[in-house]
């Protein structure tokens, strides 16, 4: 019998790795509409994807640098905020990534069912 702690530790790492791959897709999926950092955190949270700002903001910056996002500072009361949305390149990449993911999902579902 394995310790519950041990299983939990292993699961924690695996969950993280599993999530890592899908995080970009989750973020891109919401950026058809303009979002600023905190509004994106709350939107994703409401849907059920818990993400903290220390993961999201660096990710947004990375995607922005890669040219997948357009970002602008907008001064709307009560304070200036940096808004992100998909760039033309971002839309293209998002569509391709989506197909990749759905394809993976299809294969994975089949694999898991076969084992059963």
């Amino acid at each position: 019998m394995h310790e519950i702690n041990e299983i939990e530790n292993i699961m924690k790492n695996m969950r993280l790795e599993l999530r890592k791959g899908t995080l970009v897709l989750s973020v891109l999926s919401q950026l058809n509409n303009k979002h600023y950092g905190y509004s994106l955190v709350t939107t994703l949270n409401d849907i059920g994807l818990k993400i903290d700002q220390n993961t999201l903001y660096p990710l947004l910056r990375r995607l922005d640098k890669q040219g997948l996002l357009d970002s602008t500072w907008e001064i709307i009361e009560p304070r200036p905020r940096k808004y992100y949305s998909l760039s033309a390149l971002g839309i293209e990449v998002y569509e391709k990534l989506k197909i990749e993911y759905l394809n993976n999902h299809f294969i994975m579902t089949k694999l898991i069912k076969e084992v059963k």
Binding site: Y36, G37, Y38, Q53, Y57, P58, P78, R79, K82
Partner: protein, 327 residues
């Protein structure tokens, strides 16, 4: 009230790559303020909300490192320790080298002119740079190796951090007291004039005759005194010109104060007063008083300089905040 948030952001900023600092901090600040507003809407008071948001956001170093895509050579829990050590080295090493050089020059057989002494100190600069490079390199290497092989995470100090203990933001612009600088420059120039050209006025006056007080030993220490005062005058001329202090000049001021402290102590130990002329008037005790006074003055100057510097550099949280914490 936003003081705590600014202190928090400053600690993050310090650990971010320089190029991206402004952008990242602006965005983070905007987001943290959004979160605070959100909590206030839910009924928290502003201070509570601020504290909660900062706590949930996490340790400043963790936040800063989440923006780094590269694997740093120095582990994130070790890098603040390394930076502190390097800062201490960069201040202490030049001071120690300058002082040891000064002491060895004073007790050498040759008597230096002010210009000659100045040259000696200029020649010290390359060896200071050399020593700094070697020490920085060794510290850096030591930390790379430690980062690689130390397995225990020093996260305990990162994990539960207390936002209330965040250090104060050091003031960017330190005001210059014009009065102090003008007095220092004028007083310094007068003093240099007297000790170099009119040193015979430092004498005992009695019945319209005077006996010079200083003996030849004074000539030995004179160049050091000149350099110390000139150094101080240059610093204060810069203050008068620039109207504000910066970190480099505050550090130079510390070095100057320690240097002049050492010179004053050397004056005390060199018997520069002509005791024989004092004894004519039965005033031998003046020499003893002078020596004791100089020792106290020299040590006081050094301690005073260090305290002055430490007060600016170490931003200790307010005592009030510490009190509320211990309750």
């Amino acid at each position: 009230m936003m003081d705590l948030l600014n202190r928090y952001l400053y600690q993050i900023e310090k650990n971010l790559p320089r190029k991206e600092r402004e952008e990242i901090i602006n965005e983070l600040k905007s987001s943290l303020l959004d979160q605070i507003d959100h909590l206030v809407e839910q009924g928290f008071n502003k201070d509570e909300a601020q504290l909660k948001v900062i706590k949930e956001s996490g340790h400043p170093i963790d936040v800063a490192y989440s923006y780094r895509s590269d694997t740093p050579l120095i582990r994130r829990d070790l890098s603040p320790i390394m930076l502190t050590i390097m800062k201490i080295i960069s201040i202490v090493l030049p001071i120690v080298l300058i002082i040891s050089k000064t002491v060895s020059l004073v007790f050498s057989d040759t008597t230096y002119s002010t210009a000659g002494l100045f040259e000696e100190i200029l020649l010290l600069i390359p060896s200071i740079i050399n020593a700094l490079l070697i020490s920085f390199g060794s510290v850096f290497l030591a930390f790379i190796i430690t980062s690689k092989y130390l397995t225990t995470e020093l996260t305990s100090h990162l994990g539960d951090f207390n936002p209330k203990l965040l250090p104060k933001k050091p003031p960017k612009k330190l005001k210059v007291s014009l009065f102090e600088s003008i007095i220092t420059v004028i007083g310094g120039l007068i003093f240099i004039y007297i000790i170099n050209i009119q040193s015979h006025v430092i004498a005992i006056y009695f019945d319209s005759s005077s006996v010079p007080l200083l003996n030849d030993n004074f000539q030995k220490i004179l160049p050091f005194l000149n350099i110390s005062i000139l150094f101080n005058i240059v610093i204060h001329l810069f203050y008068l010109y620039n109207r504000r202090k910066n970190l480099i000049f505050i550090t130079l001021e510390l070095i100057q104060m320690i240097f002049s402290g050492v010179v004053i102590i050397l004056i005390a130990s060199l018997d520069i007063i002509d005791v024989s002329s004092l004894e004519i008037y039965d005033l031998g005790f003046i020499n003893n008083m002078f020596i004791v006074g100089m020792y106290i003055g020299g040590i006081g100057t050094i301690i005073g300089g260090i305290i002055k510097y430490a007060k600016i550099m170490i931003q200790i949280p307010d005592l009030e905040e510490l009190k509320t914490l211990s309750k």
